[in-house]
Symmetry: C2
């Protein structure tokens, strides 16, 4: 395992060579703070149009699911990390055996890649989570009709709202998945919150304040408020729970812990992501350390940064409309930029797809009221539209 002596001084010529599996928007936002330390980065992504390609001299095109591709990518590097968890874990185990640092660790990714294994892990570790039943095929849902309404979640391969289907009644069973999945009891929650937590290779742990999430109809995160409007006692419990989970996983890196806050004030872990996450994007402008810089600190064995927040923040996803295709244009981009303390991020995805996350924007302000008012103004202004007008 890599253990750099930052105190004595690591020559820039010998900085660890770092590979990122995935070259999407999270990779793009990981590159921004990596530039500040001039870290030697390598990026692997299956798409020749990946957002990161433009920003990385050492961009490689290749499958993240292919054992040999990942092995070849990683074999000359020192440290491998991810910006998407759907990668070939066997290759990561091999790289670990070769002495590479792989953060998050292959073992953690294996748990998280399969929601069924992840849920079982919570049970085993005594982490509170919504009740669930495993299903091997669609018809199995019929054995658990007393469980409805529930969410049917695909064990493997779901992301960004895909692989999750609400089932309210027996008539909706055909909407379920005919592959190994789990049926999770729908929870009547007060709020959905997320805690971003990081744990360094030196064992240091720091949480960002919980954020509060408001969902779009298509189940993609629509906007987020930070910090969440919850009592201090709940903040404390949420951070404690996030620390329990990252310690239970023994994870090195960044972990998003999504939780349901119930009406009685108790918390259930919904799911986790072992990387910087949509729920932490506002930290770029609204915190003293961003989740992306924190990720580098954690996996490089450097001290974790101050997670304190600088005022209030809202984060709005910029989502392609239904039926969208072609290249994206953003109506009123100038008017949005004329609003003070608004920070758009465009991901440079080459093609629109219906409901695709094309970017996000962060709004920073002195009060929750101020950021919510600006958010409402921006939602009326900013429109994503296909490539027709120039």
């Amino acid at each position: 395992m890599t253990n750099y002596n930052w105190q004595s001084g690591v020559s820039e010529a010998k900085f660890p060579k770092i590979g990122i599996l995935g070259g999407g928007q999270l990779g793009q936002m990981l590159i921004q703070p990596a530039i500040s330390w001039h870290l030697p980065l390598f990026v692997l992504d299956p798409s020749e149009d990946a957002p990161c390609k433009r920003w990385c001299e050492n961009f490689r095109q290749g499958s993240l699911l292919d054992y040999n591709t990942i092995l070849n990518f990683g074999k000359d590097l020192d440290l491998i990390t991810i910006e998407i968890e759907h990668v070939n874990v066997e290759a990561l185990y091999t790289l670990e055996q070769m002495g590479k640092s792989v953060y998050p660790q292959a073992r953690v990714l294996e748990i998280i890649q399969d929601k069924r294994v992840q849920k079982q892990f919570y049970l085993d570790q005594g982490v509170p989570t919504a009740d669930f039943r495993l299903t091997e095929a669609r018809a199995d849902i019929l054995n658990h009709l007393d469980f409805l309404p529930a969410f049917h979640k695909l064990g493997k391969g779901g992301y960004d709202g895909k692989g999750v289907q609400r089932i309210n009644s027996a008539e909706q069973v055909p909407l379920g998945f005919d592959e190994p999945s789990l049926l999770e009891k729908a929870v009547d929650f007060h709020k959905e919150i997320t805690v971003m937590v990081a744990r360094s290779s030196k064992g240091e742990i720091k949480c960002f304040q919980p954020t509060e999430i408001v969902y779009h109809e298509q189940n993609l995160v629509d906007y987020l408020l930070s910090p969440a409007d919850i009592p201090q006692s709940v903040i404390n419990s949420a951070e404690k729970l996030a620390i329990t989970v990252i310690e239970a996983l023994d994870l090195i890196g960044t972990l998003a812990v999504e939780m349901f806050l119930l009406h009685n004030g108790s918390l259930l872990v919904n799911e986790v992501a072992p990387r910087p996450h949509n729920s932490g994007h506002q930290s770029i402008e609204a915190n003293f350390t961003s989740q992306f810089e924190q990720h580098w600190r954690a996996i490089l064995g450097l001290p974790l940064g101050d997670t304190g927040q600088r005022g209030y923040a809202a984060m709005l996803n910029i989502i392609a409309p239904e039926g969208a295709k072609g290249s994206a244009a953003y109506e009123n981009f100038d008017k949005v930029l004329a609003i003070p303390r608004v920070y758009p991020h465009l991901y440079g995805k080459s093609q629109l797809k219906p409901f695709r996350k094309m970017g996000h924007l962060t709004i920073v302000g002195e009060s929750r009221k101020e950021v919510i008012e600006k958010l409402a103004e921006i939602k009326l202004l900013l429109k994503v539209k296909p490539d027709l007008i120039f």
Copy 2:
């Protein structure tokens, strides 16, 4: 001239292709906010080890002083900007004639490249500046002994403290330059301050608050405090003066206006730089909009960002020691990162050179006292040393 209709929406596929002349640290810091809008960047630099090379798919190696190199670089682009002013201006005139947007404009660079022309411009425009005499050869200084102590400044080619020599008395005349230069009366000033000001292609102008500079013995900026500790009346005069200069130059882009604040409270313009500048680096973490983002807004015809400051800041240059060579290592990099709200930036210069600027760091705090105390602590900790220890 390019005039994008951001209101109707500019397709990402048709975003202006932007070329940056120079691929050093300023280029590296321009790339960071360009990533947020996924701007299509091209970078030209003479060095194959330029800091930007790692972060730009479209890095080109070539001379910035060669007419054909710049023309070839720019001919397929829409917008050309600079991160260093020592570039072939004739090529920029040609690119302008071809209909390209060149910001700052060729005409402005021509004025600024030659300190003699720059000083004459101030005189012509009624901009207050220290008294000076032109010298064609070293011996000419002898005609102005009544002018000493003075600074002898090379007309063309000086930067980062090079091309400036203090002459206190007749015996020191041999230290002067034997090329067209100017002799500037040494000013007994109270403080040296800088105002960063931006002017967009739409004519909008915004200033950052003045910063205060403390020099290192080798005449490189050592550290900077922001905002400057000066009365509001001086802040107002300084910002007014910066606006006068940027309007007189009719410049589109970012301008650093370095000024002497005299003991009587009046201001003299020392010199200007038509680009983001060392004196504005702290804006990355300490202001709502950084000077680098502001530069993109200005030259893309977008509304200028909020220049408000978020607390107090200090900026410390990380400078290679005398006699340094090889690759740089930074002693106690971890201890520096353990101090909250400290932001190191390493430029990735492949080789140490004596007194070379290798990076900088920004310190953000609640008070001037806090940032100065942290600065003192960091100066004791962080050492740049040659590549000997790993």
